[in-house]
C-alpha cells in the first residue's frame, strides 16, 4: 500500500485532502427497478413511463429481479459482503421530478455491505503504486425524473422517462487522498462495472455520476468537516472538484474561518464549486421501511447463479496477462483497462494461436504490440473506436501469422495493414495480388547485393576502412532494390558475406 504524498501548500503549512465518493450507477436493465417500463436513453419525453412510475393512485412497486441480480454481481466483483436479507426504505421529500413524493432506496439494510477496490496509480510500476480503497456499501434505489426549464417562458416541464430507473449507489470509504486517487478510483470502478455488465458507465449520458465528499486536515489530525459536491459527471471533473474544493477549504481555514457542512454544485464552465444548501436547510427525509414491499431475501441458488455469471475481472486478467502471457505491466494494464479492449485482444489471441498452431503465450507479445501500436494508431487517425475497427480480430491474426511464418516482413505488414484499412480485403489476398510475398531466393538477393555494392564502390571502400555503420546502408539499399520483399535476415547474411 502506498501513502499519497499529495499536499496542499498553505500559508500555515501542508494540508492533506480526504476524499470519499458516492457513485450513482444506472443499472443495465431493460426495465425499471419497480415497473416494467423501458429504460432506453434519449427517448422522447414521457414515452417510457408506466402507471407506477407516474405514481398514479393505487399503483404498487414490484422489484425487478434483473436489477437486483446486477447489483449483487457488482457486489461480488468488489469482493463485498452480499446481504441475503435487505430491505427497501422510503426517502420522503417533495419535488416535481419525484412523482411518489418519496424515493424508494435502502438506508437501514443495504443489499451489499463492505467491499474493496484496488487502484494502480502508476501503470508502469503497478507493484509500488497500488492502493486499496474501501467500499462502505452498495444499495439500490430509484432514479428521479427530469425537469426541463427551457421549454416555456414561465413554466417547467417534467420528463418522467428516468423516473424509477434502477441505480446502484456505491459508497466508498474516505480512503482517497488526492485528485489522482479519486480519478483513478472512479475509472477503475467504471472498468469493473463495464466488465460485470451492470452499468454502461457512460458518464456523458448520466449513467454514472458521483457525489464528491471532500475535507482537509493537517496530516495526522482527525478528519475535518466535509462538503459534498453533487452530480459530478466525468472523471476529469471529479479530479477538478477535489482540487478546487480542497484549496477553497484551505483558504477558508487559513483565513480563520470554518468549513460549513453543506451540499455544493460544480460549475464546469467556471471550474468552481458553489454552495447549494447547508446542513441547516437539509431535508428531514423521514426514512421508513416501504410497506408496499416485502424484505428482499436472496437464496443460495440465486447467489450461486450470480457468482457463476461473473466474467474474469480486470485485476485477475491483468495478472494473467503479465504472468501467463508474459506481457509487460504497462501493456497488461492498458489491454485490461476496459472490457472491450480485452475482449478484442483475446479474440485476436485465440485466432492467432489457432492459425499459427501455437500457444496463446507464444503469440501474445506480437499481438499486444500490434494492437496497441498499429491498430490503435490507425484507429486514432481514423477517429474510430475499437468497436468500429474496419479490421476484425480474425483479419489481424491472419496478418500477424503472415509475419510470423516469414511470408511477409514487418515492413510489408504495415503496407498490407494500410491496404486492409482502405479496401477491407483479407491480408493473404492483398499479399497475393500485390506480389508482396517476401523472397528468400538467394540468387535474386545476391544479384541485388552485387549491384548495390558495385553502384557504391566509394562507400564500400569507406566501410572496409572501418566505417562499419555503413552496413545498414547496404542492407537498406538492397531491401529497396528488392522492393522490401526480401527476407531481411537473408539480406543481412548476404551483405555481410559480399563485404567479406
Amino acid at each position: 500500500m502506498t501513502e499519497s504524498t499529495y499536499r496542499i501548500q498553505g500559508a500555515t503549512g501542508e494540508w492533506e485532502v480526504v476524499v470519499g465518493l458516492e457513485v450513482h450507477a444506472q443499472v443495465t436493465s431493460n426495465a425499471k427497478l419497480f415497473s416494467g417500463a423501458a429504460t432506453a436513453f434519449g427517448a422522447e419525453p414521457n414515452t417510457q413511463v408506466s402507471l407506477v412510475d407516474a405514481a398514479m393512485p393505487g399503483m404498487l412497486p414490484v422489484p425487478n429481479r434483473e436489477c437486483i441480480r446486477q447489483a449483487v454481481r457488482t457486489g461480488m466483483a468488489i469482493e463485498a459482503q452480499i446481504n441475503k436479507w435487505s430491505r427497501f426504505d422510503r426517502k420522503n421529500y417533495f419535488y416535481a421530478d419525484l412523482p411518489q413524493g418519496y424515493q424508494i432506496s435502502q438506508l437501514y439494510h443495504p443489499l451489499v455491505g463492505e467491499g474493496q477496490i484496488e487502484i494502480v496509480l502508476d501503470e508502469k510500476n503497478p507493484e509500488s503504486s497500488t492502493k486499496t480503497i474501501g467500499i462502505e456499501r452498495i444499495h439500490v434505489e430509484q432514479d428521479a425524473g427530469k425537469l426541463m426549464h427551457d421549454q416555456h417562458p414561465t413554466r417547467s416541464y417534467v420528463d418522467l422517462n428516468r423516473s424509477g430507473v434502477a441505480l446502484m449507489e456505491i459508497v466508498s470509504k474516505p480512503d482517497m487522498r488526492s485528485p489522482a486517487e479519486a480519478g483513478t478510483y472512479l475509472s477503475k470502478l467504471r472498468t469493473i462495472l463495464r466488465y460485470v455488465g451492470s452499468c454502461d458507465g457512460n458518464m456523458d449520458q448520466g449513467s454514472m455520476r458521483a457525489d464528491v465528499n471532500v475535507s482537509v486536515r493537517k496530516p495526522g489530525e482527525p478528519f475535518g468537516t466535509r462538503t459534498e459536491t453533487k452530480n459530478v459527471n466525468s472523471v476529469r471533473f471529479v479530479m477538478a472538484v477535489v482540487e478546487h474544493e480542497a484549496s477553497r477549504q484551505v483558504d477558508v481555514l487559513e483565513a480563520g474561518g470554518t468549513v460549513v457542512q453543506e451540499t455544493r454544485l460544480y460549475d464546469p464552465d467556471r471550474n468552481e464549486t458553489r454552495s447549494m444548501r447547508s446542513k441547516e436547510d437539509a431535508h428531514d427525509y423521514r426514512y421508513f421501511p416501504d410497506p408496499d414491499l416485502l424484505p428482499l431475501e436472496l437464496d443460495d441458488a440465486f447467489l450461486e447463479e450470480c457468482r457463476q455469471s461473473l466474467p474474469e475481472l480486470p485485476d485477475a486478467k491483468r495478472r494473467r496477462y503479465e504472468q501467463d502471457l508474459g506481457l509487460s505491466a504497462y501493456n497488461a494494464a492498458t489491454l485490461t483497462a476496459d472490457a472491450d479492449t480485452a475482449r478484442w485482444f483475446e479474440a485476436l489471441l485465440a485466432e492467432g494461436a489457432r492459425i499459427q498452431k501455437k500457444s496463446e503465450g507464444e503469440v501474445a507479445k506480437a499481438s499486444a504490440n500490434w494492437l496497441l501500436s498499429e491498430l490503435y494508431g490507425a484507429l486514432n487517425r481514423l477517429g474510430k473506436s475499437l468497436e468500429e475497427s474496419p479490421v476484425s480480430p480474425e483479419e489481424g491474426a491472419e496478418l500477424l501469422a503472415l509475419v510470423a511464418d516469414g511470408t511477409i516482413s514487418g515492413t510489408i505488414a504495415k503496407q498490407v495493414f494500410e491496404i486492409m484499412l482502405e479496401t477491407g480485403d483479407k491480408p493473404a489476398k492483398i499479399v497475393d495480388e500485390k506480389g508482396l510475398k517476401q523472397t528468400s531466393d538467394t540468387g535474386a538477393i545476391e544479384a541485388a547485393v552485387d549491384k548495390v555494392l558495385a553502384d557504391n564502390a566509394e562507400k564500400v571502400a569507406q566501410y572496409k576502412a572501418g566505417k562499419e555503420a555503413l552496413f545498414g546502408f547496404f542492407v537498406g539499399q538492397t531491401m529497396k532494390a528488392m522492393q522490401g520483399k526480401a527476407n531481411p535476415q537473408v539480406v543481412n547474411e548476404l551483405v555481410r558475406k559480399a563485404l567479406g
Partner: protein
Amino acid sequence: MTDLTDLTVADIRDGFRAGNFSAREVAEAFNSNVAAAKALNAFIVETPEKALDAADAADKAKAAGEPLGALAGVPIGMKDLFCTLGVQTTAASHMLEGFVPTYESTVSGKLWAAGAGMLGKLNLDQFAMGSSNETSYFGNVISPWRRGGGDNAALAPGGSSGGSSAAIAARLCPAATGTDTGGSIRQPAAFTGISGIKPTYGRCSRWGIVAFASSLDQAGPMARTVRDNAILLEVMSGFDPKDSTSLDLPVPQWEANLSSDLRGKKVGVPKEYRPDGLNAEIAALWDRGIEWLKDAGAEVVEVSLPHTQYALPTYYIIAPAEASSNLARYDGVRYGQRDLPDGAGLQDMYAATRAAGFGPEVKRRIMIGTYVLSAGFYDAYYTQAQKVRALIARDFELAFEKCDLLLTPTAPSASFALGEKQADPLAMYLNDVFTVPASLAGLPAMAVPGGLDAAGLPIGLQIIGKALDEQTVLNASLAIEERASFTARPDKWW
C-alpha cells in the same frame, strides 16, 4: 312476486340461473332503489348503465348457453377507493375530484370478470380515514337506521366503508366492496346490521386501490349474509404479481365448505376486550354470542391478549406514518386538483393544492404521520410502534395455541348521531378499539349482526381467525347468523 332487492347475492345468482327472473330485471330494480335513495348520499357516482350492461351480457350469455361467471346477474356497489376504468374515482376527496382512471383495480376487475355489474361508486370517509363517514368531501352518508321512539337524528353508517354499509342495509345493492385498514369494513357492518369480512392481509390484491396505510389495507366484501360474503370473497381473492404483498396461494372454496357445525372447535374469549365500562348491551350480546357458539358445538375458553390496550395508539402511529408518505403523490403535478396562485412557485403550488385538496382529518393524519417519522422522534414513535405491533401479533399466536377462533364485540357501541363525535378525534378513534388489533396482526376478521339494542339499532359480534383460516371465521359467523336470526331492517324514510 318478491321484491328482487330483498334477495341475497346467492338468491339472485341462483334465481337468475333458474330462470326465475332476468339479470336485467334485477339491475333495474336496484337501479331504481339507488335513484330513489339520494337522501342517504351513499353514492358519489351512480352508474345504472354499467349495471344494465353487465346484466344484459349475463342474460345474453345465459340465452346462448355460455358458461356463466360466479356473479353473473348480480349488481354490486363499489367503494370509491377502488380505481375503476373510465369511472371517476375520488377516495371521497376534493383532491381526486374528477380523476378518471385509465385502469381497473385488480379486485374490481375480478368482480366484473365474474359477471358482476356496477351500480355506482360508494361514498366513504375521505381517503378511508374516519369511522363515521363524516370526512367525505361529498358530504356524509346517512345511515338508513334511526333510533326508535320518534328520534329522527341522522345517524352514522360507520366508516370508512359507510356508503357500502348504508347501501346494503337500505337494499340499494345486495353486496358491495369495502376496504378495512383498522376496522373500516367491520365497524360500518356492525352499525348497519350487515356482515363483512376483512380477509388475511395479502388475500386480496391492493393494486388499484387508493392507498391509505399499505401494511394494513385489505379489501373485503360486505353483504347481508355470511354466504354472500363467502361468494364475493372467493371472487375478490387471489395472487396478484402486481402487488408484492399479495399471497401466492390458491383461493379456497369457502362457500362450498360453509358449515355452522362447530364441534371440535375452541372459541377463545379475550378478557382484555371486556374493559371496565363496556357498554352493557354490547357485553350482553357478547355473552349471547358465547352461548350461540356453544350451542353450535364449540368449546369456549378464556384467553389473554395482554397487549390489547396498546393496539389503538400503535395503530394511530403506524397508519398515519404510512399515510403521510402514501398521500405525498397528491401534489398537483400530474393529476387531480392543482391550485396555482398567481406567481406561485412549486412550493406554493404544493401548499395551495394540498391545503385545498385534503380535508381536516386527512391533514391531521398526515401531520401526525410526518411528526412520528421525523428525525429525533422516529425511534420513540415509529420503531416503538413496530415493536409493539410484533407483540400484538405474538399475543394472537399464543392465544391460537389454545383456541381456533376468537369472539369479541365489533364496536364498543351502536351507531351514534352524525356530529356527535366529530369534535373529539380521540372519541372517534375509540370506535376502532376492537377491530384494530386484528388489523395490526393481519388476521381475518368478520363482523356479523347479533341483534338490536334498546334504541332499536343493530349491534354486532366479531370473529377473529388464524391467518389464512377464513373458513373457520365464516363458519363461526354462520353459526351466529343462524342463531341470532337477525331479520331487522331499517324502516324506509328516505
